[in-house]
């Protein structure tokens, strides 16, 4: 046990002694803050009548806006529904960096128990992902609620459902960082890993989720996509709002979503252990 704690402390030191964590954290905060503040202003403005829908350029009137009452969770969930790419990148960079900078050599010299090192990395990144979740929520809830409140719409911050959404967001972000570690050992090339993260999260999965909504069967399968599972875990997402009108929208229960995401992290990490981690370090 002390060995594992030691390994975790070393992994935390690794994470905090290079610049990538705070650069990602700063961009995460700025990005989510802008998005949450901006869209909260748009939707809350429309709901409160402060903004004329036609002026907002939606063209479809109030049809495209969420029903009253569900706006705050939607805005708050930007933390994970949009921000999840950041913990994935953090986890992937922390892992692929060891290959890229050949720091696996000193790492395995100091602790030759490789499975333990990888386990410590997953635990460390899980906690770091939770911290990223807190940072993202500070942006989405902090700035979002301020804007929503400014338009006189209820922020729902007194609602326990809102707070459980916030808690589940932290868990989702933590799991995403673990998924990143798994991806990093599965695809140790840093460039390839980053390309996969960006292409999959920003393009492939949104497209698959959108396309899958047109039939019942594919929609069921699509709920097991990692992003969909994450949204199910959190309980609200821009994607569930943006589906085609009348399309099939099915989601998993929140705990099922969490387990699916956990399964992705576990499968990638264990697979990566065999693919790269226990290989020769040359």
């Amino acid at each position: 046990m002390t060995m594992l704690l030691r390994a975790i402390r070393a992994e935390f030191a690794k994470l905090l002694t290079t610049r990538i964590w705070w650069i990602l954290a700063a961009v995460l905060f700025g990005y989510i803050g802008m998005l949450s503040g901006g869209l909260a202003a748009l939707f809350a403005g429309i709901q409160s009548g402060a903004i004329d829908p036609s002026a907002a350029g939606t063209g479809t009137g109030t049809q495209g806006t969420p029903p009253l009452g569900s706006l705050p969770p939607l805005v708050y969930s930007f933390a994970s529904s949009v921000g999840y790419v950041f913990p994935v990148l953090l986890g992937a960079l922390a892992t692929t960096g060891e290959f890229r900078h050949q720091t696996l050599t000193p790492t395995f010299l100091a602790n030759p128990r490789r499975a333990q090192v990888l386990g410590a990395k997953v635990i460390t990144l899980f906690l770091a992902g939770a911290a990223f979740g807190a940072i993202a929520l500070l942006a989405s809830v902090g700035i979002g609620a301020l804007v929503i409140n400014a338009f006189g719409v209820d922020t729902l911050l007194g609602d326990s459902a809102t707070w459980s959404l916030i808690g589940r967001t932290v868990i989702a972000m933590a799991l995403w960082a673990a998924v990143g570690v798994g991806l990093g050992v599965l695809v140790p090339s840093q460039v390839a890993s980053i390309v996969i993260v960006l292409a999959f999260t920003q393009f492939v999965e949104p497209l698959l989720r959108f396309a899958s909504m047109f039939t019942e069967a594919t929609a069921g399968i699509a709920t097991f996509l990692p992003g969909a599972a994450s949204d199910a875990l959190v309980g609200a997402s821009i994607f569930t709002m943006a589906g085609p009108v009348g399309g099939a929208t099915s989601t998993l229960d929140w705990w099922q979503g969490g387990l699916v995401l956990l399964a992705y992290a576990a499968a990638a990490t264990v697979g990566g252990y065999f693919v790269s981690w226990r290989r020769d370090v040359t």
């Binding site: 030691r6 002694t17 960096g97 000193p106 010299l109 602790n111």
Partner: protein, 300 residues
């Protein structure tokens, strides 16, 4: 005082696909001595050392420290300090942080970080990122890592590469001191001349195979002795040597006769009435012996 352990390689082999990088190597490295692990680039030195350190898994055979594989050492960094050729540091991390991470991972006191930085002469540069370090500074940082746990065994891969003359002098003294304290010191190099001033024993490999092992002095006996002899009348000298039954070959400054003592050749020339213009023992350096051994490995 840390106690050196015997390093033992037994029948260790590593194949990468069809290529056999290390071929059935067996040798031991004793404490209290500096052992040079020599061979040309690509001979398999680094692969051998990486197998010793558990970073590369052997296709067959074992490498142990006092009977234990690296993976089974209860306190790896307090037993073995290793610096490998590709000094691997995250360029964005300071030297001090790099050492602190190693110390944390190995459960060593963090106070050692400042001590080892001081020992290798990097005390003033500990706060700099490793990315701005020169090759020589990275070598020193690599050495600092090896010393963190005050280990009884040091395994250094090409530690002299990239050092300036002052650094080379320093590391030679350092290696001698470490061995004098009873530690096991294994140093690899592709140049014998780099390490011949500091090593007691040599292990020479070529193409993954052991070609020589023994004390440094044993290398001298590897070279057949030769005498250089020359005469204004080389043809006469050559026939005199032939008649005396001495093998010879034409050299740059005369004939190279297979003999230990110049006096015998001088006598042959004298009795044949041939004027001698040069007569001396061929000075074959250790480097020649080394190269001859390594070339021999090529023809295997």
């Amino acid at each position: 005082m840390p106690v050196g352990a015997v390093i033992e390689f037994s029948n260790i082999t590593k194949r990468f696909g069809d290529v056999t990088a290390v071929d059935d190597l067996s040798f031991t490295v004793e404490p209290g001595r500096v052992t040079g692990f020599l061979g040309p680039n690509g001979a398999g030195k680094t692969t051998t050392l990486r197998m010793l350190l558990g970073l590369v898994s052997p296709s067959s055979g074992t490498a142990t420290f006092g009977g234990l594989r690296y993976h089974d050492l209860p306190h790896p960094l307090a037993t073995v300090g290793a610096a490998l050729e590709a000094a691997s540091f995250h360029p964005g991390r300071t030297a001090r942080n790099h050492l602190a991470i190693c110390a944390t991972a190995a459960g060593l006191p963090s106070a050692r970080v400042a001590e080892v930085l001081h020992l290798v002469g990097l005390a003033e540069h500990g706060g700099q990122r490793a990315g701005v370090y020169s090759l020589g500074m990275r070598q020193r940082l690599g050495l600092a890592c090896t010393l963190l746990g005050d280990p009884g065994v040091l395994v250094l891969d090409e530690p002299i590469n990239g050092l300036d003359p002052e650094g080379i002098k320093w590391i030679r003294g350092f290696l001698r001191d470490m061995a004098a304290e009873g530690r096991t010191v294994l140093v690899s190099s592709h140049l014998l001349s780099e390490v011949q001033q500091s090593v007691d024993d040599v292990i020479i490999i070529a193409k993954g195979r052991l070609v020589h092992r023994g004390p440094l002095s044993s290398l001298e006996t590897q070279v057949a002795p030769q005498v250089v002899v020359d005469s204004p009348d080389r043809a006469a000298l050559a026939s005199a040597l032939s008649q005396a039954g001495v093998a010879f070959s034409p050299g740059r400054t005369g004939l190279l006769a297979a003999a230990t003592d110049p006096a015998t050749i001088g006598h042959i020339a004298f009795t044949a009435g041939v004027e001698v213009s040069a007569l001396h023992r061929q000075k074959k350096g250790l480097e020649d012996a080394f190269l001859a051994l390594v070339d021999g490995g090529d023809s295997l």
